[in-house]
Amino acid sequence: MTDREGFHDRDTDALDRALDAVVAGDEALLPEASMIRAALRREVPDAVARDHLAAIRSAADPQLASPERSPEPDTTKLSSPERYPDAQRRPAADIVPIDDVRKRRVGRGRRRGAVAVLAAAMLLTFGSGSALAAAAGTKPGDALYGVKRASERIALAMRLSPESKAALHLQLAERRIDEIDALAAEGQDVTDLAADFAASLEAAGEGASSEALGRILERTRAHIAHLNEILNQVPEQAQQGLERAIDNAERQQQRTEERRQQTQDRGKPDAPGRSGDAPGKKNRGR
């Protein structure tokens, strides 16, 4: 294409008026510009907009935050030794189903205003990605841990597309692994973190594409291998919680395998049976 044939030989005002018409909906006037417009335009679905608005309101004015939408663990307890007083005496509980984990979380209580304000301030100052990074090294019991979790929730609500949300859930699962590492190394109970870890993996898999599920599976396998690796290295009192984390991860691995298989089956009705590794418990390190 030469300048003489295309936009370059057109008067900029005439082009501008034609583009006004394209933007107003006259697609026939400049089909190529309409094609570009179609490729660039994004919409925010109503359902997503509602969540997004609620998160923005909550960040702008924590007093408006709904306890159901943004439960916040009590950071005073998180910072106090009472959180893990009986790690050695704590009996091995059954694996906590994900649905129960969610219900339990809803009941944890109203968010603490100061934490949300600080999280919102970090969002405004650094952007949500950096806000997450700023407190990334904290773990339960640290002063900024509540801020970290609050900013994670806000960041999640700010994500609009299911793919973006899934990617962040997977990132958060990896964060929980880091925290599990840190707490377990200190001999602390990681049961709650194990449940959070499993819930993040579960959320990452919801509505994910086959390709994304493959990535989640790959990461989950790596997490399981890592947890098995450190199982024998952590103090005795942390091992039960760690085992629970491994059990949860293995259950999630199986669920993700099943989801991926279902997604593939829907895409290829004539495809043969399951592909990929069959899920199964690996030998524990102990």
């Binding site: 294409m1 936009f7 005439a14 082009l15 583009l19 490729a39 994004r42 997004h52 950096s130 973006s164």
Partner: protein
């Protein structure tokens, strides 16, 4: 999702103290903002985060805002532009994710026609991503967000003729990249609402 919402009325409610008016403003401007920001940052999720930040910042700063709906829209886009620039200082500014990230990838169960359309959109997206910064910004605001050249001039702080020249060059570059024969622009009637373009060397 902006159907039926009057941004001037919504802004009037917000300025009168009814914060619920923000919901309507969000419905009008979130999509256009997302369309713009997705071309300005590396990852789609960053653009989504930024949309939230823009409205958060606007909600917190509305008491200091003075002006009409057009000024409010320009303010929103300026906030978005500034935040994208901030983010760009820490990251490469080029959008690198194709349309999968925006949920526009060919559906696994989609028809061949849908898949081809998605591929075409991806080609366009990549061509836009490869434009010089100033051209990419203008074309995203013009065609992605639907702003007029006068409105874009307000957002980016340039003369309206500079905007028209940038969009002219951007579309020419896109035509070359995409191998398209751009159509002849139909003759227009009446004088241009804008002053004649001033020939000068422009950025980008």
């Amino acid at each position: 999702m902006s159907g039926g919402v009057d941004p001037a009325a919504a802004l009037g409610r917000v300025l009168a103290g009814d914060r619920n008016g923000f919901e309507d403003l969000y419905r009008v401007y979130a999509g256009p903002l997302l369309s713009f920001l997705a071309t300005q940052v590396r990852r789609t999720e960053d653009a989504e985060d930024l949309v939230g930040q823009v409205f958060l910042e606007a909600m917190r700063g509305i008491d200091r805002f003075e002006g009409d709906a057009a000024a409010f829209r320009a303010w929103l886009f300026r906030i978005g532009r500034d935040r994208a620039t901030d983010l760009g200082r820490r990251q490469s500014r080029r959008p690198e994710e194709p349309l999968e990230a925006a949920g526009d990838a060919p559906a696994e169960q989609g028809t061949e026609e849908q898949a081809l359309a998605a591929l075409e959109r991806r080609r366009v997206w990549e061509a836009v991503a490869a434009l010089p910064d100033a051209q990419r910004e203008v074309i995203a605001l013009r065609l992605g967000s639907g702003l007029s050249s006068g409105e874009i001039a307000e957002v980016v702080g340039k003369d309206v003729n500079a905007i028209k020249a940038l969009q002219h060059r951007a579309l020419g570059n896109l035509a070359k990249t995409l191998g398209k024969q751009m159509p002849q622009i139909p003759p227009t009637s009446g004088p241009s609402p804008y002053p004649p373009a001033v020939p000068r060397r422009l950025e980008g």
